[in-house]
Amino acid sequence: MLTILFDGVAYGMLLFILACGLTVTLGLMNFINLAHGAFAMAGGYVTVVMMNRYGISFYWCLPAAFIVSALIGLVLERTLYQWLYQVSHLDQVLFSIGIVFMAVAATDYFMGGQQQLINLPPELSGRMDVFGVGVGRYRLFTIIVCAALALALQLILSKTRFGSRLRAAVDDRRVAMGLGINVPLVFALTFAFGSGLAGLGGAMGAEILGLDPNFPLKFMIYFLIVVSVGGTSTVSGPFLAAMLLGIADVAGKYYVPAIGPFVIYALMIVMLIVRPNGLFARGGR
């Protein structure tokens, strides 16, 4: 029972890290970026290449995955995305889904279509017993890293100057510019940061979720569920939503395997009926 809860939390944490970058672009920058999963995939492949081809330690791969994905995000934002902030959502969706297909095809061409596997350092593999509850070491590691990140993210957005600039830029772009905030720079950094988080999620998820060229398409639906249930105006909303979905998914598959995969969708429908604007939506948005 507790093991199931634990696995659910670990899975939820992973979903959160993968999806929270999307929260940032969608909620704060009001840009529908379906290509989010492609950045996650980039992070995953960076890890695979570094570990399997060059034998670099897993712990170094995680920051590398973050940095590489963030750089890719930054370049794409400057060259492509920035022209699309003002266009309609439909155009944004079409544009970013196009990027997804290009990423899938390119990865397939360069890396091959097979599943990529990484071998974790021994201290992270296997499981241990904590007060009689079986706990996977890697899952525990995932929970710790993701929880720390969630906390940091929340603090950055609510307590720092950059956070308030970002929120100002989102709420009213013109006024923010008038106040001397460099809005394009803020957006570019935010976008890069969101992409970097996705890359980190992809790197950490490679072990649990697997990694192949279809990763962005396979997980797009999960990102979107997390963001739509959690709402896009806060960080804590998607965080709780990811937890809820992770636990519900794992528990559903364990206790009622016959309808297991259906549980999260049912949950999503219920949540959207009860709280259409997300778990912690501010009134009027």
Partner: protein
């Protein structure tokens, strides 16, 4: 609906015309190879096409005085595409033989085309038993799920395994595997504690594995498509199922030779049943593996590549027999009862069902000179597909 029907009628009319007036180019026999070369099943397409090309390289491109022309098309693993491409190949390109087909639904979608146009169709990868029943012009050179699930059941029952949980992917081949393993294992006195089915799009195995662990069986029998199989393997080890005394037995898809080596230590000791292992010990296989690796950048050939290789062997042998006549009825008559020595061992085509008869090997994953290999240790000789054998 009307649209589609008119289109079909037009297509079949065109096909009928074609059947009456054999194409002018008699010298070449065109083979339309339809495979998922992109998309999630691209590795299947890559392996099969590499197998096919290896055969042509080692055996030349002429047989019975005809030149063999290969047309490779990508269906990206989508059934409507497969069918559309099959029609185009037959009508526009004048393909005499269709081959390939990575997945069951893709092969099934082509069956009506094969029947109407009387085009011999060689299934090189898809593994659901019922495919060859869909058209008289379909034959197969891979294998069927029942064929290699059943021996795993026999082996388990004979080797002190009493209680088993089955865990399969919830689609055609998975259900085939579950059914025939269960049937054989129960008839030999074993007990199935629980049958778990995993959705095809499943990101995390944790809940299912926990369920297996809590049921405390002697072994868990697994069928999963090959890519997912490797992910499963890691989580199996991580969850400590092996330490809990649960053995992993599976169909060979899980320990696919293409990726087996990258699975690492957790895979060692897994028992699987399948028709081909890269490590199969025979002179034919040694020659095959060498030629294949040389032509494909040191990639390991897996069972799908052998399906492709043998598919070409079948086409060559049948054309030899008909003296180059690739028309449906003559070709299919020649196919029935053909037998040859494949890299996987002796194989033949069942004259009644047009399906392959072959040895199924029980293998254990071992470290051989620093590489993980499926090492065969027991052979079930000349097995027919049990599903069709039973139906008779």
């Amino acid at each position: 609906m009307l649209n589609r029907r008119t289109l079909l009628a037009a297509a079949s009319a065109a096909l009928a015309c074609l059947a009456q007036f054999p194409a002018a180019a008699q010298e070449a026999v065109k083979i339309g190879l339809i495979l998922p070369m992109t998309g999630p099943f691209a590795s299947t397409g890559r392996q099969v096409s590499a197998g096919v090309k290896t055969f042509i390289e080692t055996h030349g491109d002429t047989v019975a005085g005809k030149k063999i022309e290969l047309i490779i098309r990508d269906d990206a693993g989508v059934a409507d595409q497969t069918r559309r491409i099959a029609q185009e190949l037959v009508v526009n390109d004048g393909a005499k033989v269709l081959a390939g087909f990575g997945l069951t639904p893709l092969a099934m979608s082509v069956a009506p085309v094969a029947t109407q146009a009387k085009v011999p169709t060689v299934v090189m990868a898809a593994g659901t038993a019922s495919i060859t029943k869909a058209s008289e012009y379909i034959t197969r050179t891979s294998g069927t799920l029942p064929q290699y699930s059943l021996p795993v059941g026999t082996w388990a029952a004979e080797n002190g395994i009493k209680k088993v949980v089955t865990l399969v992917t919830d689609y055609g081949p998975g259900i085939d595997a579950e059914k025939w393993f269960t049937k054989e294992f129960k008839s030999k006195g074993g007990e199935i504690v629980e049958a778990v089915r995993v959705p095809l799009q499943n990101p995390d195995f944790a809940p299912f594995l926990q369920r297996v662990r809590d049921a405390k069986p002697d072994a868990v029998f697994v069928f999963l498509p090959s890519g997912v199989g490797s992910l499963f393997m890691k989580q199996f080890a991580d969850r400590g199922l092996a330490e809990a005394g649960i053995k992993l037995i599976a169909t060979g898809d899980v320990t696919d030779d293409d990726i087996l080596n990258s699975m690492g230590k957790p895979a060692i000791g897994t028992i699987t049943g399948h028709f081909y292992a890269t490590a199969h010990d025979s002179p034919e296989n040694k020659a095959y593996v060498e030629a294949f690796k040389k032509a494909n950048n040191n990639m390991r050939p897996n069972f799908m590549s052998v399906g492709g290789y043998d598919g070409m062997a079948l086409i060559y042998a049948a054309l030899e027999k008909t003296k180059g006549d690739a028309t449906g009825p003559a070709f299919m008559a020649a196919v029935k009862g053909l037998s040859w020595t494949s890299p996987r061992g002796p194989v033949s085509i069942d004259p009644d069902t047009r399906d392959i008869i072959q040895n199924i090997y029980i293998r254990e994953v071992k470290d051989v000179n620093g590489e993980l290999q499926n090492v065969e240790f027991k052979t079930f000789a000349a097995l027919k597909d049990p599903e069709k054998a039973e139906a008779k």
